[in-house]
């Protein structure tokens, strides 16, 4: 069990890399689409809704396969500069995970935006604060604080989601565990050790979010 530990740890580093980069891009995507969702224009609104409906209604595996196997089918993309990105499974995984978590994040942020009390915005308006500053200084910080618990869950769901990267040949924690299983025929050791590492990461994320909630939590 100890001999397989270094292998699994090197996989865990890749898992964390995938998690951090897809959470980063996903947050940006989620923020953009959350703003589009609360837009009053019905076309923009419907577009953002369609995006989040598609990515929340289909399994992550389908999205991953669509991007990894599907996009390579498009002649136009293959001849363009994007091919350098799309041909790498690592970047395909990051694109798929970011789009997926972006959809969930946009829903979390949207509901946070919509539960902000009208009084705050009205107060800002009557004080003569411009719309832009109201958004950046009042609505956005409150929305982020309010959505912390739900966002913590999303990070943990995404951590579990990154294990799918092993299906498209990336040697993340799951991929390393599969390799150990194939090489040694000891499924229990390989997968249970990997499971313990996953649980450990979940535990750390959970506690960080708990700490942040305590420090920045917002009571209405």
């Amino acid at each position: 069990m100890i001999s397989i530990f270094p292998n699994l740890l090197s996989g865990a580093v890749i898992t964390l890399q995938l998690l951090v980069s897809s959470m980063f891009f996903g947050l940006i995507i989620g923020l953009i689409f959350a703003i589009l969702r609360i837009n009053k224009n019905p076309i923009i609104n419907k577009f953002a809704y369609g995006y989040s409906y598609f990515f929340r209604g289909t399994p992550l595996l389908v999205q991953l396969y669509l991007i990894y196997y599907g996009l390579a089918n498009i002649e136009l993309l293959r001849n363009s500069f994007f091919w350098a990105i799309i041909k790498e499974p690592y970047w395909c995984a990051i694109i798929a995970f970011s789009l997926n978590t972006g959809a969930y994040t946009s829903e979390i942020l949207r509901s946070a935006f919509q539960t902000i009390k009208k009084g705050y915005i009205e107060a800002a308006q009557s004080l003569g604060v411009t719309k832009k500053i109201t958004f950046y200084r009042i609505q956005l910080p409150i929305a982020i604080k309010q959505s912390l618990p739900a966002y913590g869950n999303e990070i943990i769901l995404m951590l579990k989601g990154t294990s799918l990267a092993s299906v498209i040949t990336i040697m993340d924690l799951m991929g390393e565990a599969r390799k150990v299983n194939v090489l040694t025929f000891k499924p229990f050791e390989a997968f249970i050790t990997a499971g313990i590492i996953y649980l450990f990461i979940t535990f750390i994320i959970h506690n960080i979010i708990k700490y942040l909630e305590k420090k920045y939590g917002f009571q209405t």
Binding site: P59, L60, V62, T162, S163, V167
Partner: protein
């Protein structure tokens, strides 16, 4: 479009059967999850420390570990375990456990953890007066559970169970890695033999969207039906 025609030339009938398989696995997994939830919810709510720990361990571990890991563990480990048990009874042949059973069991264990949390929340939100009133009336503990708590718990948990159903439905796509021919596996095969992954994975996405959409409609109806009285 001819790729989707029914019969020997198209993949329509195969994909249709695969969709049925996905539905079957999801329902089986959901039912197994229900059983697990009915066992572990009382443990989680129990006042005894040891029982409590067992219940908490189940939900924490399953919800903290990737779904794929549970599937692999059952798929690769299950065969070994079954053969070990069989060897005790003197059977030394190779045993292969059915992919459907392993898949449904694996997804069932996962969905059970989520259902447990849902049931726990529902029971906790039942008014305390109900427990006290039935106690005062001298109703026995198990009759109290079956006749008073359980019906209310089920009704209260319908909205959250619909989320669990959606998660379960999407998780079944992961069983494809073990070779069970459901939507995902069938599109993988079709994409491989026609060299048109973009088309077939899009079809798979549409099929999943349809399933989630239709089941949402159905559950909404149930929710309206059973929320009468509130």
């Amino acid at each position: 479009m001819e790729l989707l025609s029914f019969g020997d030339n198209g993949w329509g009938d195969e994909l249709f059967l695969a969709t049925l398989m996905t539905i079957a696995v999801s329902i089986a997994a959901m039912a197994i999850g229900f059983l697990f939830a009915l066992i572990f919810t009382p443990l989680k709510l129990s006042k005894k420390k040891s029982l409590n720990i067992i219940g908490n361990c189940y939900t924490t571990i399953i919800r903290g570990v990737p779904e794929l890991l549970v599937i692999y563990l059952l798929f690769f480990g299950g065969t070994g375990a079954a053969m070990y048990v069989a060897s005790i009874f003197g059977y030394d042949g190779y045993i292969e456990i059915n992919a459907f059973i392993t898949g449904a069991l694996a997804i069932g264990i996962i969905s059970g953890a989520y259902s447990t949390e849902v049931f726990r929340g529902a029971i906790l939100s039942i008014d305390k007066g109900q427990f006290e009133a039935s106690k005062v009336l001298g109703i026995k503990k198990n009759i109290q559970f079956y006749k008073i708590i359980l019906p209310q718990m089920l009704r209260l948990s319908i909205p959250n169970l619909s989320n669990v159903w959606q998660i379960t439905l999407k998780d079944t796509s992961l069983i494809s890695v073990t070779g069970l021919v459901e939507i995902m596996r069938q599109s993988y095969i079709a994409a491989g033999s026609t060299r048109d992954p973009l088309f077939f994975y899009s079809v798979a996405a549409v099929l999943y969207l349809m399933l989630t959409f239709l089941s949402m409609k159905l559950i909404n109806k149930l929710e309206i039906k059973y929320s009468k009285g509130y």
